[in-house]
């Protein structure tokens, strides 16, 4: 009854053969948080982000900046609810999420502009991006990743996870490494907002480059300005298909306290939204907003409000540029 932005709920996760309403862009919740190393709680992120969006009304959401209403253009945008994920076995849960992505993106889109439905995932911890990347790879091939985060998340599983088991190695700090190993992402990816320390003096950064990433550090914005950051990101990914992943911890904890691995010294919500809006025109084939752990929010619900607006901005990018699957 509480959907993202009061959008219509569609039972996208019904069996493939079942007749359901068509859509172009799908909101999908991924309630999963057992891949975290610090504070858990992102399993309640999808519900929290939806609550944070409850004042958005699709009929009356004309942006005061752009003059446009994301929800009333060519694209049918719907909320598919949450993927059913077990909290008790990460291996199973990630397979369940792989499957959910396959079903949701596997249907025929409503509009002929895109053909293939695109998905905005509401996390869940950052591990949930891995199934999303697998899913976009199958439809669009390798993607450039624009990764907003205070952490690089390309750690080698032997470094983050302690090498105690393969199971432990699949987590919210290694999923980008794994995505690279699985051949899902391009060598034209880029991090934005990084400020957390790394584990090895040189090895982590070397591996990060190997995984295809450049870095815009959090404080770089003071030198480059918002426009400069936008230029760095758009130049990097160029014409390639792009996946945008926003770890809410890219924001300073003052703006987004409700996250598991908060790092001080981050960006403001105004900066982040300006940057996101500045990515208009990129060929975005999928996106997510993750690591929202509502129990750490303030009474004013500031994190979920910010996350809801990040999702709104991501939807704007998808609507702005329809992308045909090859």
């Amino acid at each position: 009854l509480t959907t993202y932005a009061n959008l219509p709920y569609v039972h996208c996760l019904a069996g493939k053969e079942e007749e359901i309403e068509k859509y172009d862009i799908a909101i999908l919740g991924a309630p999963f948080d057992t891949g975290v190393t610090a504070r858990p709680g992102a399993r309640f992120g999808p519900g929290g982000i939806r609550r944070g969006s409850r004042r958005i009304s699709p009929e009356s959401a004309y942006d005061i900046e752009s003059g446009e209403n994301v929800f009333l253009q060519w694209a049918e945008i719907v909320d598919c609810g949450d993927a059913p994920l077990t909290f008790l076995d990460n291996t199973i849960a990630l397979k369940q999420l792989d499957k959910a992505h396959e079903i949701v993106s596997g249907r025929t889109a409503k509009s002929s502009r895109s053909g293939t439905p695109r998905i905005v995932t509401l996390g869940g911890d950052h591990t949930t991006t891995l199934p999303a990347l697998r899913s976009v790879y199958k439809k669009w091939g390798k993607v450039s990743v624009i990764h907003f985060d205070s952490h690089i998340d390309t750690w080698d599983p032997s470094v983050l996870g302690g090498g105690v088991s393969h199971y432990a190695g699949v987590n919210h700090g290694t999923f980008l490494h794994i995505a690279h190993e699985e051949g899902l992402i391009r060598n034209t990816s880029i991090h934005a907002g990084i400020r957390a320390p790394v584990v090895r003096p040189k090895g982590d950064r070397k591996n990060d480059i190997r995984c295809g990433f450049e870095i815009v550090k959090a404080r770089d914005i003071d030198r480059l300005g918002v426009a400069g950051v936008i230029a760095r990101l758009t130049d990097r990914v160029g014409e390639s298909p792009v996946y945008i992943s926003v770890d809410i911890d890219v924001l300073d904890p003052a703006f987004a306290p409700a996250t598991g691995t908060a790092e001080v010294g981050g960006w403001t919500t105004r900066e982040l939204l300006s940057i996101l809006d500045g990515l208009a025109g990129l060929k975005v084939v999928g996106a997510d907003i993750v690591e929202v752990a509502p129990v750490y929010d303030s009474a004013g619900e500031i994190t979920v409000l910010a996350a809801a607006e990040v999702a709104h901005s991501l939807l704007g990018l998808l609507v702005r540029t329809p992308v045909k699957a090859p």
Copy 2:
């Protein structure tokens, strides 16, 4: 016992004929929040702002920037307590507030510099600005409004309120429209900090212009700077009498979570206070700080601290420029 800034309490709301202590500037609480569309709670705003001001001491509040003490100049500043307002009938409550303004502003000022007492209202939801505008109109004629807010608040009642009844049409998003319809405000008004979406693609903005408003959007500050925003505001209102209304939601929720209709991507408290202080010299005939709903505040009470300082800055503007009623 807790007055704003530990100022003396004066029973300004006593019968007109009653002898009370004289004053030049009056703080007046307006505990009202039944004109809101989202989170209620601003009925406890006046008490909250007073608590947020408890460390201000009129005898020892010499500003480190300006070197001046607002409370120890020509003007007698007092706290009149709260207007008695029912929570159970908006029509009655707004009449009660009309009456309170009439009584408080109707007495003879202490100093000959102004003649007429001016009022700084502590809201209450934004609907409470309407009686304030009616009150200043009676004394000073039409005013220019400088309206700090994330929302335009000039919505046509048929658009915001749903047209279900006249009663429903008088609310915190339509009061500026109504003020215009009642002929209270000039065509030289201006919004500052706007970022919330509008309901109609063109109609809302057209009506906004008709109501006399230009707009400084929230992100404009990144281009104009604080000084540029100040210039836009002061140029717009010129020599006209000015009413300044500050909806605390002009701030980003990180700085002011305790409000009903929080919008992310707003200004910082440092930006807002710098802008307010930059308005020195304008002929301010009344002002308010509204939409503070303390229950949504953090344990550190950051919203009420910010609101108390906004009120402090507004008082500074009133003290700086005495305005003789015509």
Copy 3:
């Protein structure tokens, strides 16, 4: 079991003659908050800052900006726990803290680079800086103080404390005055981030100058930029030995709500950390982070996260520049 940044605990406060592990830089908690004029609670600051640092791991804390790991260079950094301080008699408590500093700094350092252990104190209210200054004075002579705060803290005890007793005059707003009177600090000291009002129109600032301080006001950063602030600070103290004291209330309450005397309109955490890191090269002989009162923090623990990172940055300055005691 929870030490700052998971550093080894050393029982530094054991009798002078007792054999303990050697160290170069000591973290020392000062649980004291009965010298405050507003909200108490900083007695739980040391524990709070340690909790805020629990994700820092000395083995894997390579800074993404500088590429260095503060904890794995020449200096042995340890956590000495808290000084045992009574909450029931300030005079006794400050003597206990004098003694703790004497013992902790009185041992032979591990490395020959410095000879004398240096201390980073975790407050505690700001009064706890006084024993720290007495301690550094004994080892290094008079120091320049770089004092990050929204308040000047050089008030004359007769002004702050009300002159009711000598006991009342020793508090978190007068300790810098007292430090000057005791001859501990140089005439080349400087405040940074000041914005709170003063008690007397001219007397406070005159006395402040007499105590050796210049001022960088909070809003000066909008004119000077981060680099300009750094220049002001480093120019001021020059080659002299420096003590850096960070009152967490230098930050805006949005970034650090958990403090006793919060003042709106302050710096962001990103600004503060950039400034601190910009002080690299100064001869820092001691430092502290004070006025953290965790009960006022948000559920996301944003203040203690910020304070932990301030301490991290301070440690960086100490490690960067070993200082030989004369």
Copy 4:
């Protein structure tokens, strides 16, 4: 997507002629809180109670006391979502709620055991009980009301509402008076858990009796025991059709802080649930749980957990005794 107890959502509020899934018992949210005299916020009650019920699973909710699963017996129980109610005009909102009840209860029940669907309303402030009583009256005639509350709620509108207007007189403290005036309730009604003061020394109680109520006061339970309270309630209403209304403030604020008009000295959740379960066998034709204002809840969400279990117990009573409409 979050329904009460993960029950199926049915679009009961669709037009009367629309074909929808049949049901026997309907959960209906009533987001309304502008009839309150103290703390607002119950407009978010329905969503809060649903969140509090999210761990209940209809397939696996076999009660450890009774051995039964309320959800898997003869009755089809569904969640109809929230009635669409304006926050800006009480008169309109209550008509909207009248209409919602009419539609939801107006359909043919799934099972032949009852014929008429029964409704459990999730409030909303207590005013929302008035439309519910109007609705049951139309189907079953006059009902006895078992009213769990710390307040009597039979105040004369001229006493509560101040007599300022008819509009103001319809509120959460007068709805039972109005229900009596409208001839909806029997002279065999009873309050349970009363402890709040009354406004008039004798008049309120006299009027209360006139409205058909006896009283079990909060402290009476110390004398009567749970069994004694049950006996008082069941004896009072006998064989008549019964409406059960539970104002969550019947609980002590320790058990239910999240309410608008909390009164200390109340019952524990264990006492309340034992009493409710003890009413098995009564002919309950409708029920509600109201005055849940989630923003006042603790981080552990204790109030919404209690409210969800109250609703669960109420459903048990409805399932236990099917009631044929005359």
Copy 5:
């Protein structure tokens, strides 16, 4: 503007010779918390308790149990605001409080029934009871103390305070010892609700007896019942003048989390209020409710609601039995 129970504010603390309105019972705030050994914050207790009482209206507070309105009988009850107490020197602060009591109780009462005004103090930490006992001693001679607390508070200053100084020995755990030493209390005093551990195996209890106290332990209520506890208390004090001191920590933290030294396993609010009401008829010459530290309260403000009702009950005892000073 927020007085206890919306009672009239009277400037009782004006100079003795000043003409003010007469009263029989005075509410007096004692904002002091620097005598505590655990969590501070009770300095904000008086304001918190007043907020907790804001729904009490003296004109319409007819008790549903007793049928009486405490505020509308023979006694004029007023709120005198807070005694001006320094936070920076306990010795001075307690003298300031001595003086405040002297002034407030030193005026002529309004009614001839008592002659001497009686005071209900809103603490403040428990040390504030000492000046209250000195004050009642001067008017009525030695009193029996009924002391509701989880702690005995008769500790020898050398035991609690550590013997480090005389100053440290005057605190919230020793004030009853000191009161005994000063000859203020009778050998017919009694504790109620005790459950916290003692410091010495036998010495503390021996000293406690010497100070004149018997004990009703917290769990004794399970054996005695409420009536039995009442009997123990009333039997103990008999016809002597009685001072009732309620440390809010007598309640279980579930009912009163907002206190400095919370002890689990305590009484419920219903139990405490029933016991207090059961003391009707005693010759109560003074009373207090202390150790309320609002920052630890839940969002629902449950502690201050409970404390406000405790004060209400205490007022009832004072009104019920006027006591002529000898």
Copy 6:
């Protein structure tokens, strides 16, 4: 630096051959919460319980009820800190915890009264009890379990965990089933405080009996009284060695909101502690207090205060009755 009850920290987890201080009873933290089905966060339980115990001082903790000081009798009680457990692989983590128990209980006790050190575990989610049971089994053979909980926790893994994998089947609701399957527990075990629903109408209870359990339901206390509950528990386990496991959710959420799977209608802290103390004399060979998830606590920290006192009571039982290993 924060140990349980300020007890000495001993590095019990050092290599078996390492020389460390001897002890009789060890506190051991088990920071693990990835075996939960609802709200996570118990990984921070050990730290939280230690903070909740910070006011307990071993030198001065003479119980007011029993007159004894648990910490100053024959047994050396120490805090061993936390077992190092990965959050990223339950299988590994439980092995790590098995090992920690083996090491800690494998050393020679200090006193000859017991020979084998006994352990009180601070959870962690309830899964952490499984390694504890394995550990006691190795020393003392099969034990009777007294299991305080609102849930039975003997679910068949195929029922709780969904049968999706063996990994998922090992969780906080199945560990007692597994313990039975592993032959660790006797057929003379008993639950206390049960009230949560079961998943299967008959199967769960049948399986529960098969696992060796009787049930005292939460509401049984209203019939049996505290003494009756004690009798049921002690009769059931008789002379057998006993393991006591306390899931904090046995308390009502009003008393212990900070837990993952809160169930309303539970026991009060006073009831629970009275029952625990009533078990004196049983041959307790190990115990734990689990499922404390501090982030859900109120500002007053009521859950960790209760949990700390539960641990205190458990220590009392261990000290009261030394048990020789066979």
